[in-house]
Symmetry: C2
Subunit: 429 residues, 2 copies
Amino acid sequence: MTIGIGLLGLGTVGAGVAEILATPEGRHPLVAELELRRVAVRDLQRTRPIQLPSELLSTEPEAVVDDPAVDIVVEVMGGLEPARSLILRAIAAGKPVVTANKAVIARHGEEIAAAAAAAGVYVLLEAAVGGGIPIIEPLKQSLGANRIQRVSGIINGTTNYILSRMAAEGADYAAVLADAQRLGYAEADPAADVQGADAADKIAILTGLAYGGSVPREAIPTEGIDQLDARDVTYADQLGFVVKLLAVSQRIETATDGDPQLLDVRVHPTLLPRSHPLAGVNGVFNAILVEGEPVGQVMFYGPGAGSGPTASAVVADILNIAGGPPGIDPLLAAGSWRQCRLIDGARTTHRNYVRLRTTDQPGVIGRIGTCFGDAGVSIQSIVQFEADSEAAEIVVITHEVLEADFRSALDAIAALPEVQRVAACLRTL
Amino acid sequence: MTIGIGLLGLGTVGAGVAEILATPEGRHPLVAELELRRVAVRDLQRTRPIQLPSELLSTEPEAVVDDPAVDIVVEVMGGLEPARSLILRAIAAGKPVVTANKAVIARHGEEIAAAAAAAGVYVLLEAAVGGGIPIIEPLKQSLGANRIQRVSGIINGTTNYILSRMAAEGADYAAVLADAQRLGYAEADPAADVQGADAADKIAILTGLAYGGSVPREAIPTEGIDQLDARDVTYADQLGFVVKLLAVSQRIETATDGDPQLLDVRVHPTLLPRSHPLAGVNGVFNAILVEGEPVGQVMFYGPGAGSGPTASAVVADILNIAGGPPGIDPLLAAGSWRQCRLIDGARTTHRNYVRLRTTDQPGVIGRIGTCFGDAGVSIQSIVQFEADSEAAEIVVITHEVLEADFRSALDAIAALPEVQRVAACLRTL
């Protein structure tokens, strides 16, 4: 029994999928039963890394979705539209969908899931987060016995490449970004990566799976690495930390049951102690740490992007659909079962790293410490890093404190006559 | 619809499973539909970490399997018999089985899989390897698009705890083992762990899943850490390596197709370069590195044992069975699809670490180097470590060489008059 695959998009990921389907030897025997029947491309004339019979190609993605020979629709075109409409069109036709599109799932996941549930088809998305790393299926099928407490990850390869090089070379963000663009590790328009939107898309998806309920994508507080100063990477190193763009989704314990589950979901550059399991993840690699009761900590590590790894995840989803018995497995389908809500940022608690630019006068550290103390913010360390005739740089690391208290302390500190400015402020694990 | 669970064994893992089933709040909603209906124990009087109604307990495991109220049989008693017979009895009764028993699966996996396939029921075993780490399901369901090239892992927590402390403290094996026994990290009879049998059971299981065909468990070359000398850990460290008990299962490319797939499967203490992804895995943690085309390297890391983590894996399997639609998913059932065969050890290639005890005379290093060269064994480094009036210690690290060549070089070296003995010989990545 051969299963017909329709591919929407023949870019990096699409070509990787076609390549796997064309070379089934040595893979799971089910791969040999998959047949690429129709491929939607934007431009028929373009040269591609993989040669396909021209009669397979079409510039009409709707025709690929509608083709009766296509049993499973694979959406690897990216972007919101027409991806969303095509996915919904496939579902409406009773065809299961495999997608690598984090943006469309992060923003229209509920609509798509509802349509899929109504039609009784799967929409699978292993490739949308972590490239080749199995993380979606493990969350759905291997960790369901747990009360998940936190999911945290390095889930954007571009920014991790940039941060790894900034740390290794003491280099500036702009210089490394330019080099990353030259080497193909960063897009010509790097905004979605460096400003954190890509990571926010992915943590939105992981949140829905980990807690059985979603939070609005637009409401996730997101800070990228584009404002990061190389000296904070250097100071962090001297204090025993590495700086990573971390996406975090944390369950907040509440006194009352039955209310929506409160979650603290966010993306920002974060100081990790060098001993943290995610601290050693460098270059374009991704890793996701899942913490739950009773499993403890489990981590998934691997290539977060690239043609082959992402195609590996896409084809895994195809196999799960193609191989499964008729009917829908609720774990694989992964519906939502809980109302979730983002906690008010002011009520979250975190450790913080603050760099202050001050005049180099005796007593400054004491006054800064007093401001923190008055606000109830306890401090782990205050270190003066450099001083010239103009200014000193003072770095403070706090214990875990309430964000509202921390902010009021910072306001008081900014108002001190000796403090020229709050030069940097980063979350710390 | 409630699903009846019958538990064979109420030790560490069994109690962990009962605990999860008794506290479904906050877990996947399917957990609330599982009901513990019957539990087989050896001794009704024993005090246990979890209190269960006494009418649930029975000293007759057959009665638990046969109980019509039991829909899924969970075997967490361990050992070969009666576990094997009870698993087969459940299968014969048409009941799916979840087991954490690596020994019985490594030795009787084919018999059990054949019976399960004939009866059309699942036998799932996520907990048999890596404790709470999702590794069995990802291999079955998330990596099927790949040609797996190598699976290597730190899959025995006891030995990794011992090795981590030997490395950190420069301590002797015997001293750390005694301490590990006192702390509960090693059994009173540690043989299965420290001699490598437990890791060999697990790599046998991973091999079957990664390559779709099994190799005879007894034929897997297995070397433990019980003969490991602390000074080799120290020398390795000085050369930039850490010593880990590694279980490896590697595909050998052969010229001819259609023949059984040749595999190199083994368990032994291994020098890993400090930059290797598995080198930083310390204490009782486990990690499994899977390498395949096109995914590249993916790693799974977490707690390799313990009540909670192992129970997390057991209940995940129960959920997959309880939630799935009628019929058998071939990926989840994971039949074999390929003949596999172990390669003759003499035909394998490896890097090696050799420690030689020699007289401290000029020219020794030259003669040793000549012996390696004559046998076609190329060397990366020769370092003399210490010398007293009696002897010198010379450590050689080879490049990747044919085992047969390496052995013939060692024979020639052992025959040199200056060489007192080949004091240690370890594989190196």
